[in-house]
Amino acid sequence: MDNLYRDFILEHYRAPHNHGALDPHDLAFADSNPTCGDEMSMTLVLDASKQRVADVAFDGRGCAISQASASIMTDELRGMTLDEVRDMDPRDVVANLGVPIGAARLKCALLGYKVLQGAVTGAISHWPDEADVLQKGPVS
């Protein structure tokens, strides 16, 4: 935990990629982390087929973990099909942070993922079951 704040994370926190709001957009969603009240919104623009992410942005305030996680995750999205986005594994989102995430901060690491799933499914998504993400995840 003590190396949770590696430079990599802090850089994404200080200068998050894909930050802001896209207008006009095709998909939008907002959700919050009940443990801290942090709120995040996300806007997506699709390509002409309306099946693929052309652009994405996230907004809102939050901790370094949630901001860095959303920043890193959104970097991956362009060009993905909506089905691929829906099939994303939350364990990969956590793993991509490159630092160990414990149960107490898991929702921070997954807030961006949850908002994204809300955007592409059009409904409030459930938090992934903690045990699934932590037990089988590549990091602990």
């Binding site: 919050s32 009940p34 443990t35 009240g37 414990g102 149960a103 107490a104 901060r105 929702k107 459930h126 938090w127 079951d129 903690e130 045990a131």
Partner: protein, 419 residues
């Protein structure tokens, strides 16, 4: 006649008593305690007491994700207890297990949350004549609040649920059947698989009061195919102050919260609130944290014995006690006489002596039994009795307890000059 040697496959009660510190305390008579009131609440094994103490001493903080080591530890253990209980009762998911104080609160939760949302004037609720007050009064209150009607499935003279009566009442389309797995006043084990099938065919949900079955026999809520089940930790070697509601996920998801406050919300403004997901939606405020750790230890202890063995042991004691009491003059029983359908609970009358007086004289002999209506007054009315005396068994009982029970009843009869 009590047979003097232990049957094969049956547990050694004395060895279990060594696990329970209460048996180190001498009764005021100087004799060891013969504890025959486990149906009211069980004694606690040292492993459970130690687990509670350890939770307070080394793993305690408020749960739900304080961002520090101790709170993560406490939260993890709390949720692990939920997992253990889910596994123990065959729940498909730990997310379906809600921690409450006791079986009573679990039933009230369903009556308030599911009941006040789903029941309307004229709807029918079915309970049975053998329910504990905990599984009666909340439904009566629900009926009074919603205008729903309530009917009761009859019991037969020998203490069975009257399945013909059940069938007839199910035909009237009740929304819910509230039924106990084991009657704490009669000892009857109800045929839940059959009952649930009948109820579901009639379109009724089934709430199972498993307070008296989970501590004493294998129970699998999925196999029983019920919709809700309730239990109390304190009856299954666990701490007081913790119990559980299990419910089908789709039902729990659709229900509004019962109590509101911290941890059951995701967002609160001055204009209103959004609810957390199940099970946390139903757990307002700080829960029974160390008690959950104790309950997990109790489940471990029970699993270590094996529930089939627990049941076999108590059944053996029931058979022996029934035989011994049958040999005595002036004793009458309630409930089925076949131990296939009778848990380790014997409700009886000593002719000419009020149950309160029986219990007092037995206490004078170091034998702890319960006397009264056992929170099942309609059962007493059904058999036109003011009360009964009840002896109930657990793993720490053995044939010696039956000898002491029968001896003490003889003292009672001599005192009252009735035999």
């Amino acid at each position: 006649m009590v047979t003097a040697h232990v049957q094969p496959g049956v547990l050694d009660g004395a060895a279990f008593r060594a696990d329970f510190p209460v048996f180190d305390r001498p009764h005021r008579t100087g004799r060891p305690l013969s504890f025959l009131d486990s149906a009211a609440s069980s004694q606690k094994p040292r492993v459970v007491i130690d687990a509670v103490a350890d939770a307070y001493a080394h793993h305690y903080a408020n749960v739900h994700r304080g961002i520090y080591e101790l709170s993560e530890d406490a939260t993890h253990r709390f949720e692990a207890a939920r997992d253990a209980l889910a596994r123990f009762i065959g729940a498909p998911s730990a997310r379906e297990v809600v921690f409450v104080r006791n079986a009573t609160e679990a039933i009230n939760l369903v009556a308030y949350s599911w009941g006040r949302t789903n029941l309307h004037a004229g709807d029918l609720i079915l309970a049975t004549e053998m329910e504990h007050h905990a599984n009666l009064v909340p439904w009566q209150q629900l009926a009074a609040a919603t205008g729903a009607r309530i009917e009761y499935v009859a019991i037969t003279d020998d203490g069975h649920l009257d399945l013909d009566d059940l069938r007839a009442r199910l035909a009237r389309g009740p929304r819910l059947l509230a039924v106990t797995h084991v009657s704490n006043a009669l000892g009857t084990i109800n045929p839940i698989v059959e009952i649930t099938r009948m109820a579901h065919e009639a379109g009724a949900l089934v709430l199972l009061d498993a307070a008296q079955s989970v501590p004493h026999m294998p129970v699998d809520v999925a196999a029983l195919d019920v919709d809700f089940a309730v239990l109390s930790g304190h009856k299954m070697f666990g701490p007081s102050g913790i119990g559980a509601l299990w419910g089908r996920r789709d039902l729990l998801d659709a229900m509004p919260p019962f109590m509101t406050g911290g941890s059951m919300i995701t967002r609160v403004t001055l204009d209103g609130a959004d609810w957390n997901e199940v099970p946390w939606k139903f757990e307002a405020g700080t829960p029974a944290i160390a008690e959950a750790a104790g309950l997990a230890a109790a489940i471990d202890y029970l699993e270590g014995i094996g529930m089939a063995k627990v049941r076999a042991h108590e059944r053996f004691l029931f058979d022996q006690a029934w035989a011994a009491l049958s040999d005595m003059p002036g004793i009458r029983f309630l409930g089925p006489d076949d131990s296939d359908e009778h848990a380790g609970v014997i409700s009886f009358m000593v002719d000419g002596v009020h149950p309160h007086d029986v219990a007092t004289i037995l206490d004078g002999e170091g034998v702890a039994v319960r006397a009264g209506h056992h929170c099942a007054q309609p059962v007493m009315l059904r058999y036109d009795l003011p009360a009964t005396t009840r002896a109930s068994f657990s793993v720490y009982n053995d044939l010696d307890d039956i000898v002491r029970l029968t001896d003490a009843i003889r003292v009672t009869q001599r005192t009252f000059g009735t035999a």
